[in-house]
């Protein structure tokens, strides 16, 4: 089997599906290659939150601000409902040092035009009626965040792209790359050779493995993120709530240490998603360690005693990509002509529509709407 395309996208998660749609829309003959089914990695195991609270503030603010504007017409563009709704974001503060950290954060985000406020504990119930504020100093509050249904969004991109001629290859791992004097010529897959002059890697946590096949050592690692899912109930939670401790510098922990960083959201279907005990790992196992069950549920019932009656129905665990400087790997590789990366985003949902456009812009050599020089895959001489 030999098939020729203009561009091949590797990875059918948020970014890969958005990129595939925008590439098809730009008139390119596009193939999407994925080792599993669509949305199989971190894209199936997340809250679907369109959040700015998680963002890296120094270099990403232009990108995030632009990305936020893309949601107003998203459902219209895709011709499908993606479960879009507005929720707020709350970062709970337990210690004085976290308060200081959040104060700095508040002033920084306000300089990029994003409004947030510090709410003292006694007023927390006005924004989140179910919270038990005892034991908290307060919280940093973003009124304007949002949520989508991850599967509806990814599916909508695929359906729209399919209408424009996308070829999809699922259960098809990439086994190698065809190179010719510094140029990419195609990918070798379990289903045969696919030829294309442009390859876009949207492979999240698996990007480093693909890099090894190319002799590139990109600075992309992963942590395992987990969450527990409860039975559904009426939509009562108004915000996505996470602990400010997420922003405290991590101590030197052994890989494999479970950290019960408190983060909860209610899904558009009413399930309470509670997590996320994260730990850095060297393996791609997808089990949820038994300690997570008690540590995560204890951290949730601590602030939300009302949820102690909820029963946990299931759990998930998935490798989530991250980079040392919290900036994504986005742009052309300097090593091989025709190779592009779009992986390692810190908060993926918010940038999904924008990065799809950006990838199409990169491949067609169009004009980009924001500066990607801080995100180039080979910045800081990570490549050898």
């Amino acid at each position: 089997m030999k098939q020729t395309f203009d561009v091949i996208v590797v990875g059918a998660g948020y970014i890969g599906c958005s990129a595939a749609y925008h590439l098809c829309k730009a008139g390119l003959k596009t193939a999407l290659v994925e080792q599993g089914p669509p949305a199989a990695g971190a894209s199936r195991a997340n809250y679907g939150n369109i959040q700015i609270q998680d963002m890296e503030l120094e270099k990403s603010s232009d990108m995030i601000q632009l990305a936020r504007t893309r949601f107003a017409h998203l459902e219209e563009e895709l011709g499908n409902k993606v479960g879009l709704r507005q929720i707020s974001g709350l970062l709970t503060i337990e210690t004085e040092s976290q308060w200081k950290l959040m104060e700095t954060r508040r002033s920084t985000v306000s300089t990029c035009g994003i409004f947030s406020e510090l709410i003292p504990a006694e007023h927390l119930r006005e924004v989140e009626p179910l919270i038990d504020p005892s034991g908290l100093l307060g919280a940093l509050y973003h009124a304007h965040e949002g949520q989508v249904d991850p599967f509806k969004l990814i599916w909508s991109y695929l359906v729209a792209a399919r209408r424009l001629g996308l070829q999809e290859y699922y259960q098809t791992p990439v086994t190698g790359f065809a190179l010719n004097s510094g140029r990419i010529e195609g990918v070798q897959t379990s289903q045969g050779f696919l030829s294309a002059g442009c390859i876009v890697l949207c492979s999240g946590a698996y990007t480093a493995q693909l890099g090894q096949m190319l002799g590139c050592e990109w600075d992309i690692h992963y942590i395992l993120g987990q969450a527990l899912v409860t039975e559904p109930f009426d939509l009562l939670l108004r915000s996505h709530i996470a602990s400010a401790s997420f922003f405290e510098p991590a101590e030197n922990e052994e890989p494999g240490t479970v950290r019960a960083n408190f983060a909860i959201s209610q899904s558009p279907h009413g399930h309470l998603l509670m997590g996320e005990a994260m730990y850095e790992a060297y393996h791609f196992k997808r089990h949820v360690p038994f300690q997570s069950l008690s540590s995560v549920s204890a951290s949730v019932t601590n602030y939300f005693p009302v949820f102690s009656k909820l029963r946990i129905l299931r759990s998930w665990s998935a490798p989530v990509a991250h980079t040392a400087d919290s900036c994504p790997l986005l742009g052309p590789s300097s090593r091989y002509q025709g190779l592009f990366l779009a992986a390692g985003f810190r908060s993926t949902v918010i940038v999904t529509p924008l990065i799809g456009e950006t990838v199409a812009g990169l491949v067609t050599r169009g004009k980009l709407e924001f500066d990607i020089s801080n995100f180039l895959p080979e910045r800081n001489n990570y490549a050898h």
Binding site: E231, P232, F233, D234, H269, F307, K309, L310, R311, L313
Partner: protein, 101 residues
């Protein structure tokens, strides 16, 4: 509906000891070793719960603890899987009970 021995040519139906259980306040026939789902279906109760959003009817589906469709309230504990829970003496079972937070 339960299987009855309708002919002497058929093997005998063997059951555990009778157990007293209540479903939505009414006594229901049940035997030791049966699941809650078996007792409910034998009593002609097919609707175990209503879906949270649209109040659609749900009952036994996979029958092996995977799909979480057959959730009932047992002795006040919400969302118990009827298909993998055995009946016990004095059990109070409620169907279609809404979760009260």
């Amino acid at each position: 509906m339960r299987i009855k021995r309708s002919s002497s040519l058929l093997p005998e139906v063997r059951r555990g000891k009778p157990v007293n259980i209540n479903v939505d306040g009414k006594p229901v026939e049940a035997y030791e070793g049966e699941t809650v789902a078996a007792a409910l279906l034998s009593a002609g109760i097919h609707t175990f719960r209503l879906t949270q959003k649209h109040q659609h009817l749900r009952g036994l589906y996979c029958g092996m603890g995977i799909c979480y469709e057959c959730l009932v309230t047992v002795n006040g504990v919400h969302a118990v899987r009827a298909c993998v829970t055995q009946v016990a003496e004095g059990m109070q079972i409620e169907t279609c009970k809404e979760l009260e937070l």
